[in-house]
Subunit: 120 residues, 2 copies
C-alpha cells in the first residue's frame, strides 16, 4: 500500500473476486467478515447479512468503528464484489483482503484503491 | 449515467460530501438512506446504523436486494463519505445520490463511478 496523503482519511478498496467458492454459505461469509476485520486491526460494531436462499447469493456488511467491509456474492457466477473502507492510518485493508481471499479462493482478484477523506 | 457495458453488473458510486450538515442526526440519516433507496427503485433489506454519540459521527448502511448504500460522517469536518452500489439495470444510483444531497446540503460533492461485475 503506498503512503496515503495526510489530507486523506483512509483507503476505499474495491475488490472483484472471480472464480471464487463458498459464496452461498452465509455462516462462512460472516466468519470471513469478522476475521478480515480482525486482520485489519478494526473493531466490528455489527454484522448484517442476508441470504437470498438455497444456493443463492449473500449480501452483507460488517459495520466497523473504522467504516465498513461489504460483500455481495453471485455463486452462479463464482463472483463476489467486496469493498473495504478503512479509515485510520493503523488499519490495513490489504491484510483484510488477504483473509477474504483465503476464505473464498478466487482464481483472480481485481483491486481498485481510492483515497478518500475530508481533505480530498 | 453512461450506458453500462453489458458485461458489467452495476455501478459503484463513491461520493464525498464536503460542507454538509445534519451529519450527527442518526434518525435523519436513517430516513435519508431509506429515501435514497426508494428513489433508486431499490428494495431495503435492513438498515444498520451506529452513532458515535453526542455530536459525533454516524456510520451506517442500508442493505439492499440490489447491494448497498453506506454512509460514514465526520460532523466536525462537515464531511460525509457515501458509497452506493446498485446492481440491476433498472436502479438509478444518481437519483439516490440526489436524495442524499438534498438531505445533507453539501457545498460540494465529489463523485467517482466504477463499473463492476462478473464480466469485468
Amino acid at each position: 500500500m503506498p503512503e496515503i496523503d495526510p489530507l486523506y482519511e483512509g483507503w476505499h478498496v474495491l475488490a472483484d473476486l472471480h472464480g471464487a467458492s463458498g459464496l452461498s454459505d452465509v455462516d462462512r461469509i460472516a466468519a470471513a467478515l469478522r476475521s478480515a476485520a480482525e486482520a485489519a486491526g478494526a473493531t466490528v460494531l455489527d454484522v448484517a447479512l442476508h441470504h437470498f436462499g438455497g444456493g443463492g447469493g449473500v449480501t452483507g456488511v460488517a459495520l466497523l468503528a473504522e467504516s465498513h467491509i461489504s460483500i455481495h456474492t453471485w455463486p452462479e457466477r463464482d463472483y463476489a464484489a467486496i469493498d473495504l473502507f478503512l479509515c485510520g492510518r493503523t488499519n490495513d485493508p490489504e491484510a483484510a483482503l488477504a483473509v477474504l481471499e483465503a476464505f473464498f479462493g478466487p482464481a483472480r482478484t481485481d483491486v481498485k484503491r481510492i483515497a478518500r477523506g475530508f481533505g480530498s
